[in-house]
């Protein structure tokens, strides 16, 4: 039986020690003491991230069977495969916090969990494979490069591995874009159409504006996040606009202009109504994405059970033999 007062005193001392470690730039490891709230926030953020990687396989997987050259087919398979790996690495990270992948998958499948809004948009042409690699993976890199310095060790280590792979994703995406940009008029039109469609959803990937981001302050304090959504979004725009110009693309934003004084590319207002609508499950493909995940999970149940049953039989016969 615990005495509440002592427990509280203990707790605040522990929190103080914990925050001192964070302030000193130490990384927190699975068995270290951590405030329950920190653990919860991490699980929330990491599982959303992992779900995004896994659901993110679907829009691009949609074009694997139609990739127009063998080289593109292989790059795309390898990229989508990496995303499965990213999901896996991060789920493994949550498992160090005592949360099973299984538990998180259930949350994804029954629609409780969130994932990146961008994957609820359809992929409508081959050019989307270029633009997604360039913009969506590009945005992911901006996010994840910072996350590689997050305070939770297993998350940070997963991010380091992921960032290395994301660079391949972005490069292959931009290469597709550049090739289309140098291609036939039909290819150029296909590319521009995809950029027009994907640009704004890509900007939304950084999440709501800082003023509207309920978890930001706490995440920043504990160095789970190291930069605000708006800072990261601006960084992304600054990096991306020159890349668009380099291949002769027009970005669909009449307000886009370079501000000499700040060195930033100023951009127009994001349609937050659309963003929150997609987040709430009313995006163009939310239902399809969840249905596809559920289908795969249900179709795979007998396979997972069979492997488990076989292992159990093997185990029984080896204990009997022993």
């Amino acid at each position: 039986m615990e005495q509440p007062i002592t427990a509280q005193a203990d707790e605040s001392a522990l929190v103080a020690a914990f925050e001192a470690r964070i302030a000193a730039g130490e990384s927190i490891e699975p068995k270290d003491w951590m405030p329950e709230r920190y653990r919860k926030q991490l699980v929330r953020m990491m599982s959303q991230h992992a779900h995004s990687e896994v659901v993110g396989m679907l829009p691009e997987g949609n074009w694997i069977t139609r990739a127009p050259s063998l080289r593109r087919k292989m790059s795309l398979i390898a990229k989508v495969q990496d995303e499965a790996g990213h999901g896996l690495y991060i789920y493994c990270g949550t498992e160090t916090l005592g949360v099973d992948r299984h538990e998180l998958l259930e949350q994804l499948l029954d629609g409780r969990a969130k994932y990146s809004s961008i994957f609820n948009y359809p992929t409508l042409s081959w050019a989307d494979m270029g633009v997604i690699g360039w913009l969506v993976d590009g945005a992911a890199i901006v996010n994840q490069t910072i996350l590689a310095k997050t305070s939770y060790g297993p998350y940070a280590r997963a991010m380091v591995r992921i960032c290395k792979e994301e660079n391949f994703h972005k490069r292959q995406g931009y290469e597709i874009c550049a090739t289309l940009a140098n291609g036939t008029p039909a290819q150029r039109a296909m590319l521009q159409e995809a950029v027009d469609r994907i640009w704004w959803p890509a900007l939304m990937m950084f999440g709501p504006s800082d003023t509207d981001s309920p978890n930001s302050a706490e995440l920043l304090k504990w160095r789970v996040k190291r930069k605000t959504n708006d800072e990261l979004r601006q960084r992304f725009v600054n990096l991306t606009v020159p890349q668009a110009i380099a291949i002769g693309l027009t970005l669909p934003d009449p307000d886009l202009r370079f501000d000499e004084s700040t060195g930033n590319w100023e951009f127009g207002e994001i349609d937050w109504t659309e963003f929150f609508q997609v987040i709430k499950g009313e995006g163009p493909c939310n239902r399809e994405r969840l249905a596809a995940r559920n289908q795969a999970h249900a179709d795979g149940a007998w396979v997972r059970e069979a492997a488990a049953a076989h292992a159990a039989k093997q185990q029984r016969s080896s204990t009997q033999a022993a």
């Binding site: 615990e2 427990a7 203990d10 707790e11 490891e29 699975p30 068995k31 270290d32 003491w33 951590m34 405030p35 329950e36 653990r39 495969q81 790996g85 896996l88 690495y89 493994c92 498992e95 160090t96 916090l97 005592g98 099973d100 992948r101 299984h102 997963a158 591995r161 149940a301 997972r304 059970e305 069979a306 492997a307 488990a308 049953a309 076989h310 292992a311 159990a312 093997q314 185990q315």
Partner: protein, 116 residues
């Protein structure tokens, strides 16, 4: 008081070997160690789920060695790993910190002796 149990958890009670599986829920976790080159140490790379050692090995290969990151792999049931507790950190490791005489720099070499 907040407790953070960070031991990997599985559905149901596990026997000591930690390998009993319930396929309906989740396969057991295996820790993966990769050796980057011949002669290098095996280092922790991450983990995979698998029902048995052969599949754990195959999954480890596909997940952690598909870019040629490894020349050798170890897979270990996560439950078989015994980790030092953070509470032990002081008694376990601090005493190693002030034993300067264990390091070569502690000892003086007479002037003029160049290569040592």
């Amino acid at each position: 008081m907040s407790t953070t149990d960070t031991t990997p958890r599985y559905e149901g009670q596990l026997p000591a070997d930690g390998l009993t599986v319930t396929g309906a829920t989740q396969w057991p976790l295996w820790e993966v160690f990769t050796q980057a080159g011949k002669g290098a140490p095996h280092e922790h790379a991450g983990s995979v789920h698998a029902t048995d050692a052969e599949h754990a090995m195959q999954n480890a290969r596909d997940v952690y060695a598909r870019r040629g990151e490894a020349v050798s792999l170890w897979v270990v049931p996560a439950t078989a790993i015994v980790a030092s507790a953070p509470g032990d950190a002081g008694p376990f490791f601090d005493p190693g910190n002030d034993k300067a005489y264990r390091h070569p720099q502690f000892y003086k070499v007479p002037r003029g002796v160049r290569v040592f």
